[in-house]
């Protein structure tokens, strides 16, 4: 019995020490990690509007695919969308202005190289940009599953765009 109490105490002390160390490391790195998260958001927005000023907009999205909405100072809206591709989440930005998709850029994708990964390639970016929001968003042959998810995300963004009263 004594032995068991001793073992429990020993394990408890070790765990408490480990917890203390982790709390300290977390304290040291927390601000830096947070900073990187904010900076990376901005770094992506700048890809679409190099000189834009961005403002986060609150919104109500039924599809659950849209993570964040930013209003650009020239009236355009940027939607941060996350959809499930072929084997992992695809995260991307879509900018809508003047009834057209004016920008599309992939933040992260982890699908099959040579297939699903192509949703981030220039070929697909170019085929999406300029599409009217009333027309069908183009798919990418050879990457049907990944691009269907992307298109679903964009369609959710278009729906939200109309409800937000964007032009």
């Amino acid at each position: 019995m004594k032995r068991i109490i001793y073992l429990a105490c020993f394990l408890g002390i070790i765990s408490a020490l480990a917890g203390g160390i982790l709390a300290y490391v977390n304290d040291v790195t927390y601000e830096k990690i947070n900073e990187i998260a904010i900076a990376s958001e901005k770094a992506n927005l700048i890809k679409l509007y190099p000189n834009g000023a961005f403002e986060e907009v609150t919104f109500n999205d039924d599809s659950g695919l849209i993570k964040k909405v930013f209003k650009v100072d020239n009236g355009a809206y940027i939607y941060k969308i996350e959809v499930y591709g072929y084997k992992d989440y695809i995260s991307f930005l879509v900018a809508i202005d003047d009834g057209k998709i004016v920008g599309y850029t992939v933040i992260s994708v982890n699908d099959t190289p040579g297939y699903g990964m192509r949703v981030a390639d220039d070929e697909y970016v170019n085929s999406i940009t300029g599409t009217s929001i009333d027309a069908d968003v183009p798919l990418l042959s050879g990457a049907t599953i990944s691009s269907t998810s992307v298109v679903n995300g964009i369609e959710a963004a278009i729906k939200l765009h109309q409800s937000l009263g964007g032009n």
Partner: protein, 216 residues
């Protein structure tokens, strides 16, 4: 440094290479060996964790009660890994996004617990630290070997970037992009590459053994 310690250190590379001859730490090896960058990042992280865990466990080997040694090792290892994960997130975010879930999974990398149980709890602190370095280098060496084959065959080029500054150190195209076998970037390619390399290591070790027997 006495001879035995040095022999033990060297063994991690070929004779007792943790990946190719002991078949330890396979899961992460197969998953992240797609590029030189990932391999090097993972390798260095494991080296640091392995040296620290071996050192700490060896320092505490006389006070850790035998019955609960494994849980204690796991607490020590997971604390180290979590700390490393936070530091990587803060200072090398690209490496973090490339390695993703495989950083926290270092906790269950058998090499680390294996060395704690098989070596660090029986040996002196300095010897254990050196063993950690040797085994860690052996693991990194294996990762680099697999990733060189996979990156060259799968993407046609070999590149390395500094994970802290994101400056490209080198990027050489070896195979024109029309002739690459993208299968090698996927898990099938990982298994094929691993099997061929493991066979090569087995052949080398068998030959060495035969020679030793011959020479008496």
């Amino acid at each position: 440094m006495n001879k035995q310690v040095w022999e033990n250190f060297k063994a991690g590379f070929v004779k007792e290479n943790p990946v190719f001859t002991l078949y330890l730490g396979m899961c992460s090896t197969l998953a992240i060996s797609t590029s030189l960058n990932n391999a090097l990042g993972m390798g260095v992280t494991v080296i640091i964790v392995l040296i620290l865990s071996n050192t700490i466990i060896s320092m505490m080997r006389k006070i850790i009660p035998n019955e609960i040694r494994i849980p204690v090792y796991i607490i020590i290892i997971s604390t180290l890994v979590k700390s490393m994960e936070l530091f990587i997130k803060a200072y090398a975010p690209t490496l973090n996004s490339a390695l993703g879930i495989f950083i926290p999974l270092i906790v269950v990398n058998c090499i680390i617990l294996g060395r704690a149980e098989a070596f660090a709890n029986k040996h002196k602190v300095s010897e254990s630290a050196l063993d950690g370095l040797g085994m860690g280098l052996g693991y990194t060496f294996s990762l680099l070997l697999i990733s060189i084959f996979r990156q060259v065959l799968g993407t046609g080029s070999l590149s390395l970037t500094n994970p802290f500054t994101e400056v490209v150190i080198f990027n050489i195209r070896i195979i024109p992009s029309d002739y690459v076998l993208s299968m090698f970037t996927q898990s099938v390619g990982a298994f094929i590459t691993f099997a061929l390399l493991a066979a090569g290591f087995a052949a080398i070790n068998a030959q060495k053994k035969a020679k030793e027997i011959k020479n008496g």
